[in-house]
């Protein structure tokens, strides 16, 4: 046995661990959150912790062989901009029968993302949005993307149960935090509506997501599910209603369906695109009678994973890069990494200066922030391999757009607007997105950031039973295209990798 002493957020705790335990496992076992996008395979180097007398180590590769004392990184709460309401539907308040379970009923809308979870607390008597909080998905330590989560469920005994409990625990933490702070009884929370991608919704309800990761990618369920809060052991009214909104397919989840249903587009916009850039990139082309959609496996590069100094939209992330070492960080704190919008700016700038050539070739890594200016003493670079990752991600998205356009025989000129969802849409600079070819030429002028539409959809579902109709109308008109089946996709994908 060895003694492990953990310093985290100003507190010290210690524990005995058996010999040759992997440090990452020991930390997780004690309930601490460590971000490990590669799932502990030793390939991303992001699960670093500070070991006294030894310095920073990659915790998934470190075996405990003596008594050690470690310091965990400062916990940073995910900072995603709140949903924007300008382009959202407005519906009359009608929260439904569950609201009669309490004299002062509350509802919660949850956007269950692969990387981030957003909770919106609503007073059902008035429909007022009282509070929004965002936290990282605690499953992130098992891998950054849905495939690694599914893999965990099917290869680790009780894996599905573990991942499900992670979600329930974080839900309960948020629920009790809210009830305590607002001085209300858990019984007053009577309605919870949840949007998320199909994998997350399977895991939440304890349904095996295995089939989602193999041809023919058939979900176990797509339809709306309503369960009692007690069935999920949630800290709220046990008779409360938990509504999981419906999905379309394995890779078009309730987050997209409800996101599109939540939109109130400008009436003049007849044909428009809706793109949600998250850990995956879902694309929909909305026309008068049909909604054509596809999911582009953009990968988590724009969420900062697979990028050497990449990170999510958290405090200290470079989110805007103006060139010449001028940049802005989230929270205006010293920079510790680069998030998606910052990456796009940077690549656009490197292309303009010729440091990166149009085919994506970069001779040597580029110093963005020297160590003495960074927030953690480590210099921030962008590497040639990062550029390749960005090429893959942006090509997946732009190829998806092109394939939907071809399906409908429309061209960029026929597209009236591009509604860009996801936290990253708020920070993204249109000219940079066009410069790197993430958005086809001619469309950048038409970009409208709409924030977290999945969250907006969940909020609408909490507030109004009438939202159901819009969700089912959306679902009925959706036409799914599986890109990996499309003959043209491979060639498109290759060609669009150029800048």
């Amino acid at each position: 046995m060895h003694k492990l002493t953990i310093h985290s957020a100003g507190k010290v705790s210690s524990a005995n661990v058996s010999r040759e335990t992997i440090l990452l496992d020991a930390i997780r076992y004690r309930g601490f959150m460590i971000y490990a996008p590669c799932g502990g395979k030793g390939s991303c180097g992001k699960c670093e912790v500070y070991v006294r007398d030894e310095g920073y180590v990659t915790s998934c590769l470190y075996t405990i062989e003596e008594d050690i004392e470690i310091v965990l990184p400062e916990p940073v709460e995910a900072n995603i901009l709140a949903a924007q309401y300008e382009y959202s539907r407005i519906l009359p308040l009608s929260p439904g029968p569950a609201s009669r379970l309490s004299d002062s009923p509350y509802g919660v809308a949850i956007d269950l993302g692969t990387t981030t979870l957003a909770f919106h607390f609503i007073r059902l008597a008035t429909g007022t949005l009282l509070e929004t909080s965002t936290v990282l998905n605690p499953q992130a330590k098992y891998g950054a993307d849905v495939i690694s989560r599914i893999n965990y469920c099917i290869t680790v005994p009780e894996g599905l149960l573990t991942l499900q409990s992670e979600l329930i625990d974080v839900f309960n933490l948020q629920l009790s935090h809210f009830t305590e702070k607002s001085n209300i009884s858990p019984d007053d929370i009577v309605k919870i509506c949840i949007c998320g991608n199909t994998t997350m919704l399977h895991i939440l309800l304890g349904v095996n997501p295995g089939p989602l990761a193999f041809v023919p990618f058939t979900p176990v369920f797509c339809e709306e599910r309503i369960v009692r809060a007690s069935e999920l052991k949630l800290f709220c009214n046990p008779l409360g209603e938990v509504k999981v909104l419906p999905s379309l397919a394995a890779y078009i989840g309730a987050d997209i369906v409800a996101g599109i249903a939540s939109l109130a587009p400008v009436p003049a916009h007849k044909n428009f695109l809706f793109i949600d850039v998250g850990t995956n990139g879902e694309i929909a082309l909305i026309t008068a009678d049909r909604i054509w959609c596809c999911a582009a496996a953009a990968g988590p590069a724009f969420e900062g994973a697979n990028i050497e100094h990449g990170m999510g939209a958290l405090q200290g992330a470079i989110n805007i890069y103006y060139g010449q070492n001028n940049f802005q960080t989230i929270g205006d704190t010293p920079p510790v990494g680069i998030c998606g919008s910052g990456l796009i700016d940077l690549v656009a700038d490197l292309l303009r200066s010729g440091y990166v050539s149009a085919d994506g070739y970069m001779e040597e890594k580029f110093l963005v922030v020297p160590s003495e200016r960074s927030g953690n003493g480590t210099a921030i670079y962008i590497t040639p391999k990062d550029i390749r990752e960005i090429q893959l991600a942006k090509s997946a998205i732009v190829s998806g757009i092109n394939i939907l356009l071809r399906r409908t025989s429309l061209t960029v000129d026929n597209i009236d607007a591009l509604y860009l969802a996801g936290g990253f849409g708020n920070y993204i600079r249109k000219e940079s997105a066009e410069a790197i070819g993430l958005i086809p030429t001619g469309l950048s002028e038409k970009v409208i950031p709409v924030g977290n539409t999945s969250g907006t959809g969940a909020i609408l579902a909490v507030r109004s039973e009438k939202f159901d109709r819009y969700v089912s109308e959306t679902l009925d008109s959706m036409e799914y295209t599986e890109l990996s089946d499309d003959e043209d996709f491979a060639l498109q994908f290759a060609i669009n990798m150029g800048f």
């Binding site: 891998g143 495939i147 690694s148 599914i150 893999n151 099917i154 290869t155 295995g210 990761a213 193999f214 041809v215 085919d359 994506g360 070739y361 040639p384 391999k385 390749r388 090429q391 893959l392 990996s484 089946d485 491979a490 060639l491 994908f493 290759a494 060609i495 990798m497 150029g498």
Partner: protein, 222 residues
Amino acid sequence: MNEKLAKLLEAVEYGKVDQKSPYPPNLKGMDGAHELTQQALDAGIRPQDILEEALIPAMGNVGRKFSENKIFVPQMLMSAKAMGASMAHLKPFFASGKIKSRGTFVIGTVKGDLHDIGKNLVAMMVEGAGWTIVDLGVDVDAGRFLEALSKNPGAVVGLSALLTTTMTNMGEIVAKIKESTPDTVIMVGGAPVNMDFCRKIGADFYAPEPRGAVDFLNQLAS
């Protein structure tokens, strides 16, 4: 070297498919692999020499530049297309035995997985090294690999997967092949695959990029 072969080498290395192809921009309007191969054959150059002095070194350069991160998937794919245009002219000579193949390589993306870009690149690089390719496509189960092996005894097998989940299907396929023909050499590849996994499932070789596969096969053939 013969001037025509030097031009063909260049066309394949830089991905010039034919005269009307707009790619690459700096070779616009010039003859591509399609025309240059026909001209070489018309000039009486032996098909074997076209393969050995133009195509193989061209694809060798492409593989090297890819592993040095100087070029990326698109350029490699265009080179592969150019090689394909040249190969179309040479196919009859393989069939008639005028060109000697270095061996047969059976390749496929494993069951449950539809991703074929990586698989195609490896197939083309191996073809460009003078091997005969049997491409089984995507979502291929053990049965189809066994069937291909019974038609092509002694062939080397390549398994590809892009997903951590579908990668697990490789183990079953390797086991079935080794059970039926223990001497079959099996290579595995794809983004989530590594050497540890290769050893664990009893496959014979793994490389992180196509060039490694080509080098390994060439050693086998020599």
